[in-house]
């Protein structure tokens, strides 16, 4: 036990010390931070108050109604939200082009000039029939500003049209109001308060985390074993440790590194998405717009299920990667020999996509009992639909069984393989190793 512990610690400390690990671990949170903070920050910066002149060429009250609507636009939500536009109405019935040109000439529509305007909104009587409204400004590139103007002006035009037809716009608005499907997940006969979308996101995220961990760290295990073979340190190790101790120590040590890195990443992602508003405020920007990144809350039970299957899945595939590493003498050989293992990882990940629409269908039920796929499928099913305790326990047990078989097989391949130099082993030879070891 002491020996395995020594191997685990060596793997863990040596991996964590590498520049690659430190960089990836720091860059992950930076990436999440950028993803969570920057869009919100830029959005709130960009959309400082804009000075808009409504050049009113109408003969009706349409121009003043449009002005009122624009004045009502707010940045962000809540009572404290600031107005988005500073609106000035310029009456210009019949001479809107002349007014427009002179305003452009005088103010230059520059955001540096005060007093002045950032943009001109041209409305005329024909706007109501054609639906065409012109806007000139220095901020036409701002998707957000343009969307806001459009959203504010559209109902005014629609209402004016309806009034002309003698219809009460209020009635129409009420009758065409869209419907809102509000989803809520029920698990074990109880409402969970999670929305459907959040659940889907979580199911994907869990599959993705396992997938990435396997691809990165599974291959690292394989590479490390090939390196131990080529540097021949394996002879010293083999005279002190059993192959099983060597393999298990490596798999657990690297697995712990994977958990640490993923823990840091998800921790950072959680912090950024939870305290996004506070961070934005601290940076002097108001929070606004839809959340670009928001994490659904993860129930403790789901977290436990995910952790169990993450661990089992990691053991399963890491043992296979270790066996592949032991079979090969160069990293190029290993790159080819790992294909079957990689296909299984990919199959597991994509089975999440395939089964997410019908998490309780026959396919999903059956695949939950296939050890290489279960680590992907079961947490997804558990998060989307409720899974009975019986099926949960039985899938865990079959996966454990699968892991034991694979670790046993891999251990035998490893035992013979690590001390075999020369050419890459054929599958026939590997089969003989399994029987002979």
């Amino acid at each position: 036990m002491h020996k395995i512990w020594a191997v685990i610690r060596r793997e863990f400390i040596e991996k964590v010390r590498t520049r690659a690990f430190i960089l990836a671990t720091i860059l992950g949170p930076v990436f999440f931070g950028v993803l969570a903070i920057v869009p919100g920050y830029l959005m709130s910066r960009d959309t400082g108050i804009k000075r808009v002149a409504v050049v009113d060429g109408t003969t009706t009250d349409f121009g003043s109604r449009a002005t009122t609507a624009l004045k009502a636009a707010r940045r962000g939500k809540g009572a404290a939200a600031l107005p988005r536009f500073e609106v000035t109405r310029v009456a210009a019935a019949g001479r809107e082009l002349a007014v427009r040109d002179s305003l452009v000439k005088v103010t230059g529509l520059s955001d540096k000039q005060a007093p002045g305007f950032d943009g001109l909104l041209l409305v005329s009587d024909s706007s109501i029939t054609t639906g065409r409204v012109h806007y000139l400004g220095n901020n036409v590139g701002s998707f957000d500003d343009m969307r806001m103007i459009e959203t504010e002006i559209r109902p005014v035009i629609q209402a004016t049209r309806l009034e002309r037809l003698g219809v009460d716009p209020g009635e129409v608005m009420r009758s065409v109001q869209g419907i809102d499907l509000i989803t809520a997940k029920v698990a074990d006969g109880r409402l969970t308060g999670e929305s459907g979308a959040a659940t889907f996101f979580l199911a994907y995220a869990m599959g993705l985390i396992l997938y990435i961990a396997l691809l990165i760290y599974g291959q690292q295990i394989m590479g490390a074993i090939v390196e131990e073979k080529t540097s021949r340190i394996v002879e010293v190790l083999a005279s002190s440790l059993t192959p099983f101790q060597m393999m298990l120590g490596k798999v657990i040590g690297v697995g712990a590194v994977a958990l640490l890195q993923i823990g840091i990443w998800t921790g950072a992602a959680t912090v950024f998405s939870t305290y996004k508003d506070q961070i934005l405020t601290a940076l002097g920007a108001t929070s606004s717009g839809p959340l670009p990144l928001s994490l659904p809350s993860m129930k403790p039970e789901l977290f436990v299920v995910f952790l169990i299957f993450f661990t089992l899945g990691f053991l399963f595939f890491a043992a296979l990667y270790a066996a592949v590493g032991a079979m090969c003498n160069t990293i190029q050989d290993a790159g080819q020999a790992q294909m079957p293992v990689m296909m299984m990882v990919i199959a597991g990940f994509f089975s999440v996509f395939a089964l997410i629409r019908d998490p309780n269908g026959t396919a999903a039920r059956v695949l939950s009992y296939v050890p290489p796929l279960a680590p992907f499928v079961v947490p997804m099913r558990y998060s989307i639909s409720s899974l009975s305790l019986f099926s949960l326990v039985s899938t865990i047990l079959t996966t454990i069984l699968g892991v034991l078989v694979v670790v046993w097989l891999a251990g035998r391949i490893y035992r013979v393989g690590i001390l075999m130099y020369g050419k890459k082993a054929s599958f026939g030879e590997v089969f003989r190793w399994i029987r002979a070891a």
Partner: protein, 318 residues
């Protein structure tokens, strides 16, 4: 001494296409230095690997400390330096030694103390926090040497411990090995450098092509080999000297190095006659000494000069 530490009993190991070791029996007595000699490809490393249980013999049995258990179960009592040196290149020297000590079963704290002591003794303390890859090859070999001794084993198995070392480092390592033996430990080492083995070993086994040719205490081997041997050094006219040495009425066999030679006198030949002839031929004699046969001479005589260089296809399996 008493009892044997390593017992190899009629062991045979075949690799695809050839037999590396054939019916080999060894008995390494407790204490002292045991030399396993042989030309390249003789099966020395294969034998040591089998003793270390890195590979298993096809036939026969091996016991270490009177136990047939895998040597790693006894790994606390054995220190091993493999022929192919290998260390984790990215690890720091001290960390690496501590890890290998722990893998042998000693505690982390005592592994550290011992590693520091050894590094100081071999003058590597300044390198303790450096990565292994930053060390020269000789220094790496010293580090690996320390790792074999770190857990204070009763039995040291060293496969070609001095190969690739400069004379200074070779001397340092030799001192360590001799000291270990003096402290009552058993040292089993393989080499193909006869001079070294001759100076260090108490007991010698010579193998060639997987078979044992000579086995016994060094003094006994020399006595048994018998014959009168003469060491010669000449300074000129070496062609004439060569001609004299090929006279089979005088010389039974000779190992001619050009400027020096070791010869075995033919039966009934008189050393005086050889001396007289050499002086007559004016070879500028600088040394003429009746000696015990050197291990080199015994080795050549037993293995045969041609076998000293093994067929190329066997060398990589050594």
């Amino acid at each position: 001494m008493n009892g044997s530490v390593v017992k190899v009993d009629s062991v045979t190991k075949r690799f695809a296409g050839h037999t590396a070791v054939e019916g080999l029996s060894l008995d390494v007595p407790k204490g002292g230095i045991f030399g396993l000699l042989g030309p390249n490809g003789a099966g020395k490393s294969t034998t040591i690997r089998m003793i270390m249980n890195i590979i298993t013999p096809d036939e026969g049995r091996i016991s270490v400390f009177d136990s047939v258990a895998a040597s790693r179960d006894l790994s606390e009592r054995i220190g091993f330096l493999p022929e192919e040196r290998g260390l984790y290149k990215k690890m720091r020297v001290l960390d690496h030694l501590v890890f290998l000590g722990e893998a042998k079963g000693i505690s982390r704290a005592s592994a550290k103390t011992r590693a520091v002591n050894w590094l100081e003794r071999l003058g590597l303390m300044d390198w303790a926090q450096k990565k292994v890859e930053d060390l020269s090859k000789g220094m790496q070999q010293k580090v690996q040497f320390i790792s074999a001794l770190l857990h204070d084993p009763e039995l040291l198995i060293l496969d070609e411990p001095f190969s690739g070392l400069d004379p200074v480092n070779s001397q340092v390592m030799k001192d360590v090995v001799v000291e270990a033996a003096r402290d009552g430990r058993t040292v089993l080492f393989s080499t193909h450098i006869m001079e070294q083995a001759e100076k260090m070993c108490d007991h010698i086994v010579i193998i060639a092509r997987g078979k044992k040719l000579v086995d016994g205490p060094l003094a006994q081997i020399k006595r048994d080999f018998g014959g009168r041997h003469i060491a010669l050094t000449f300074t000129r006219n070496s062609d004439r000297a060569t001609r004299i040495l090929s006279d089979r009425t005088l010389v039974a066999s000779s190992d001619d190095y050009g400027a020096s030679a070791e010869v075995q006198l033919a039966a009934g030949a008189d050393p005086d006659r050889l001396l007289k002839t050499l002086v007559q031929e004016d070879v500028g004699l600088a040394r003429f000494e009746v000696v015990e046969p050197s291990l080199q001479a015994i080795f050549i005589a037993k293995v045969g000069a041609d076998a000293a260089s093994a067929p190329a296809n066997e060398v990589h399996r050594a």
